[in-house]
Symmetry: C2
């Protein structure tokens, strides 16, 4: 396995391949060609070959990839052959939703702590996890050996929470607050910003107006760009 | 304004610039240079100039950008000078969290419908929105003039929901289900996949182990990659 850094786009694709391979394995299949993998999951077969070749030789000409072997290798590449302890900061609906988010339940990521500042919430349980006072962040993070912090607080609270995370020595952050957080080289922040997602969709809807496609009331029409 | 397509990465950056400009405007500032915009928000000033030059001349040498003018222009570019009606499918914790997600409340996106298949949920209200039977999706979508569908259902239900969305003629989808959905050219799907986000963080944590940085118990150490 080459040791150069691979891009976030590549790790995203590896995540997708992994999901596809797990699905194929669960159907009892043992090998798959890049073409049929691409066909089945609407991926790009040349891209698959390129991405996988980067990590070594997995394919056998005329036979395809060994599904179990490739799956296990991607698991190792992505560091998913160990478990990660998650702390969620913010026990609102979003933070609470994440505690038992279906995708997490069967993943390498395990929610170990849930924090909030609201005295009415502290001490209550969500999905088996007791909501802890954010004041005790440092000590709980240390005791629970937290690897990844998930920010699910309002935007105006996020920068302070981020500072707490930094101070606690947590190096990986998943951020849901609609605010930009500045990580140094020792940390990595992934933002899942609902608004940014929607804004690129609105750009798409604006970019290619197809009036015949779906009528809009006149009052809602977009002003023409200068 | 040039009419070529701009990439999703660019629209993501425009979203970020917009957020920064709104913040500066709320502080009463009227102009900002690309350098101070970059400094203040830890952005890349050359990238800012490049992105904005693409849409026309906004900067005045020695003075900087007119904040209100630039903000309004980005709003138009992103198609945010009109409002969009959202339908959320899945009234679990995640879907419910989105109904009153802080970022949406002051945005161009307005939740107009919330669907579920669970008879116990149908008819109940979340944040002022009544949960509707998914059976009535087509008619409700038409009546409420839905522009964007948000998928917040379990992975195994997502493909069927996606088909319903397609049939209803909705062209933009924000997907939270940990599953790949195949859009044709007439549609755009943005996936906010919690697992993919976490998997790129685990890759980061794996890629650059810094044993002095934060000790891990021996039992949790990652097997060495081949």
């Amino acid at each position: 396995m080459k040791s150069e850094k691979i891009s976030q786009l590549t790790t995203n694709r590896l995540s997708i391949y992994l999901r596809c391979l797990k699905e194929l394995a669960s159907e009892g299949l043992t090998s798959v060609s890049s073409d049929s993998l691409a066909d089945r999951f609407h991926l790009n077969s040349a891209q698959i070959r390129k991405d996988l070749a980067y990590f070594g030789e997995f394919g056998v000409r005329g036979v395809g990839y060994d599904i179990a072997l490739l799956r296990d290798h991607i698991i190792r590449i992505l560091g998913l052959d160990r478990s990660y302890n998650l702390a969620i900061i913010g026990a609102g609906r979003l933070g609470s939703a994440l505690v038992d988010y279906e995708g997490l339940l069967r993943s390498s990521f395990h929610v170990k702590a849930l924090f909030d500042v609201d005295p009415k919430k502290i001490g209550k349980k969500v999905g088996g996890i007791t909501i802890t006072d954010l004041k005790n962040f440092q000590s709980v993070v240390k005791k629970a050996n937290i690897d990844v912090a998930v920010i699910a607080v309002p935007a105006n609270a996020a920068p302070d929470v981020f500072e707490k995370i930094k101070k606690a020595g947590i190096r990986a952050v998943l951020n849901f607050a609609p605010v930009r957080l500045n990580a140094d080289d020792e940390m990595r922040v992934r933002s899942l910003d609902v608004n940014s997602g929607l804004e690129s969709l609105s750009y798409f809807l604006t970019e290619r107006p197809q009036p015949g496609d779906k009528p809009k009331p006149a009052g809602k029409a977009r002003k023409s760009a200068q």
